[in-house]
Symmetry: C2
Subunit: 316 residues, 2 copies
C-alpha cells in the first residue's frame, strides 16, 4: 500500500530530464520543480530518469542533486532518487559504521524486506562497496549484537505459508525456557528468529502466548535499559508486525525534542512505495492525528514538502 | 573445464525423449541407451528433456528413472539428471541429516560454488523442502560445527578481485594469534573464512605464510583426529584450491577398501560440467594414474559406464 502519487499522465522521461536540468540551471535551484518531478515518480521511472539524464547530459543526476541541495532536503531527495535495493545497501553500510543505536537500521533492513529484496540489496552492496554486507557486519559488530545481526542479515529466509505446528510447539517451549533462564543471546533464541519463516515464527509466538500467557516481547522487557533486549523486541516486531515498528520509529522521531530527521527520512523514503499507507493508518490509530499533519507540524520548507509528497498528500 | 562430451549433432529433444521412453519400455531396461543420451547432454539440454518428456508422456522423467534403475547406477543417473542447483539442494539436505562425516558435503557446496550458484541452490531448497537451508543447518547441527557451517552456507560472498593488503596483514596476524592459542573455533577465525572474498582470503593466507612460516593448514593439523580441525582445513582448501580438495575426495573414495560410491558419484556429477578436467589433471599428477582408469578399475557395469561417460572418456 504505497502512498506515492504518480500523475495519470506522466511527462516523457526526456521532458522530466529537461525540467530537472532547468531546476539546476543558473543562480539558485528550483526545489519545487525537483519535488514536483521526483516526488511523483516510481522506482522504475526514477531509474529511467537517472539513465536518460546521464545519456543526455553526460552527468550523474545523483551528483547534480548532491551539488545543488543541502541538509535534510538533500538527504531525502538523494535517498529517494536511489534504487530501493541500492538505498538499502547505502543505509546498511552507514549502519555498520555507527554506534549501537544504528543497529536498529540493520535489523530493520534484514527483517522487514522480502528475501529477494534483501538479496538485491546485498548485490547492490557488492557493486557499491566491493565487499559483502555480511563481512562488514561480522567485522564491525561484536558480542551479542553480532550474534543476532549476522544471521539476520545473512539468512535467505523461506517465505511460504506452510506451518509446522509440532515444531511451533516445541520451539515455543525452547524460547520460554531460554527466556526464563535470562539466556537472551542463546543460540536457540537467535536461531529461531533469524532462520525460520515469518509464518512459522508467527505460529511459534502464538503458541508461546497460548501456552505461557504473555506476548514474548513482554517477557523480553525485564530490563528496559538493556539495548540488546530492545533490539530483540524490535526484531520480533519487524518480523511479525512491521507497521507497528515503523509507527513507533515515526512517533519517536516526531515527538521528541528536536525531530529525528534521520529516522523520519529513512522511514518515509524506504516505505513510501511499499506500505506507508498502512503505517500511516497505524500512526493515526496510535496518535489520534494523521501522519501527514504530524510531519507537517514538525518540519519546514522543501524538506517538509518532499516528505509530504512521498507520504501522499496531494499536490500543494 | 568440463569433461562432458556432447556430440556435435545432438538429436532433437523429441527424439531424445522417444529413445528414453523406449529404454524404459517392455521387460527390462536399456541402460546403455539411457547412458548414451543423458550421459552426453548438458544441463540446459537435460532440463529441456525433462520438460518435454513430462509434456509428451504426462510422466516425470525422474520418477521413471527412479522406478527403472537401481543402486549406484540409479543414484548417478538421478543426480546427473537434476538441475545443478536442485542437485545441490538435494545433497545439502541429505547432509544436514547425517553424521558429522557428511558436514564436508555442506562445506563443499558452500565453499566451491559461486555466490550465485549457492543462491540458486538455496532457492531450489525453498521450492523442494518448503524450508530454508539455513534453518536446517542451524537446527540440525550444533556446537563448533554449526558455528562454522552456518555462516559458510549463509554468506552471499563478494567475488571481485580487489584485495586490501592492510586488512590481509592485520587478519593474518589475528589468525595466527587465534591458532597459537588453539582457539580454533574463535569468532575471528570463522569470520574471516566465512565472509571474506576468495581473493581477500588468498591474500591473507599468503601473508600468513610469509609472516609466520607455515601454510595455515599445517598449523591447523595439531591433532589429526580432531574432526573440527579437519573441516577447517577442508574449508581453507575448498576456498583456495578446490581442485586439490576434490582430488583428495576422489583419491580416498577410490583407494579405500570398498569404494566410497557416494563420494565418487557426488564429485563426478557435480563437477563434470564445471572443472572435472582440472580435477582429473590434479589426480593424475598426484596418483600417477589417469582418473578414468582409476574409476574403471574400481567400478563395474552401467555405473562404471555412466561415470566414465561423464568423466569424458569417448563413447565405448
Amino acid at each position: 500500500m504505497s502512498t506515492l502519487v504518480v500523475p495519470d499522465a506522466v511527462p516523457s522521461v526526456f521532458e522530466d530530464c529537461e525540467q530537472l536540468r532547468k531546476a539546476f540551471a543558473g543562480w539558485g535551484t528550483n526545489e519545487g520543480l525537483i519535488i514536483s518531478i521526483l516526488g511523483h515518480r516510481n522506482a522504475e521511472q526514477r531509474k529511467l530518469i537517472r539513465q536518460t539524464y546521464a545519456e543526455a547530459y553526460g552527468e550523474d543526476l545523483l551528483k547534480e542533486l548532491d551539488r545543488e541541495l543541502t541538509n535534510d532536503f538533500e538527504r531525502v531527495v538523494l535517498l529517494w532518487a536511489l534504487d530501493p535495493a541500492d538505498r538499502d545497501a547505502f543505509l546498511a553500510n552507514e549502519a555498520t559504521k555507527k554506534s549501537t543505536s544504528r543497529y536498529q537500521v540493520l535489523m530493520e533492513i534484514a527483517c522487514t524486506r522480502s528475501s529477494n529484496h534483501l538479496l538485491h540489496a546485498k548485490q547492490a552492496y557488492h557493486a557499491r562497496f566491493k565487499r559483502s554486507l555480511e563481512e562488514d557486519v561480522a567485522c564491525h559488530i561484536t558480542g551479542d549484537f553480532s550474534k543476532l545481526l549476522f544471521p539476520l542479515v545473512s539468512s535467505y529466509r523461506y517465505e511460504g505459508d506452510e506451518v509446522n505446528m509440532t515444531l511451533a510447539k516445541s520451539e515455543a517451549k525452547i524460547l520460554y525456557q531460554k527466556i526464563s533462564e535470562k539466556a537472551y543471546s542463546s543460540e536457540d533464541l537467535i536461531r529461531v528468529l533469524a532462520t525460520r519463516s515469518r509464518a512459522q515464527i508467527n505460529a511459534t509466538l502464538n503458541q508461546y502466548k497460548n501456552e505461557f500467557g504473555n506476548d514474548i516481547n513482554k517477557d523480553l522487557k525485564t530490563d528496559p535499559n538493556d539495548e540488546f533486549l530492545a533490539l530483540m523486541r524490535t526484531t520480533v516486531k519487524c518480523l511479525t508486525r512491521p507497521e507497528k515498528h515503523f509507527e513507533k520509529v515515526l512517533r519517536l522521531a516526531i515527538n521528541r525534542r528536536g525531530t529525528d530527521e534521520g529516522a523520519l527520512t529513512r522511514v518515509v523514503t524506504t516505505r513510501a512505495e511499499v506500505d506507508l499507507k498502512i503505517i500511516a493508518d497505524e500512526y493515526q490509530r496510535r496518535n489520534s492525528v494523521p501522519l501527514d499533519r504530524a510531519i507537517g507540524k514538525d518540519t519546514t520548507g522543501d524538506y517538509e514538502k518532499m516528505l509530504l509528497a512521498l507520504a501522499g498528500r496531494a499536490h500543494a
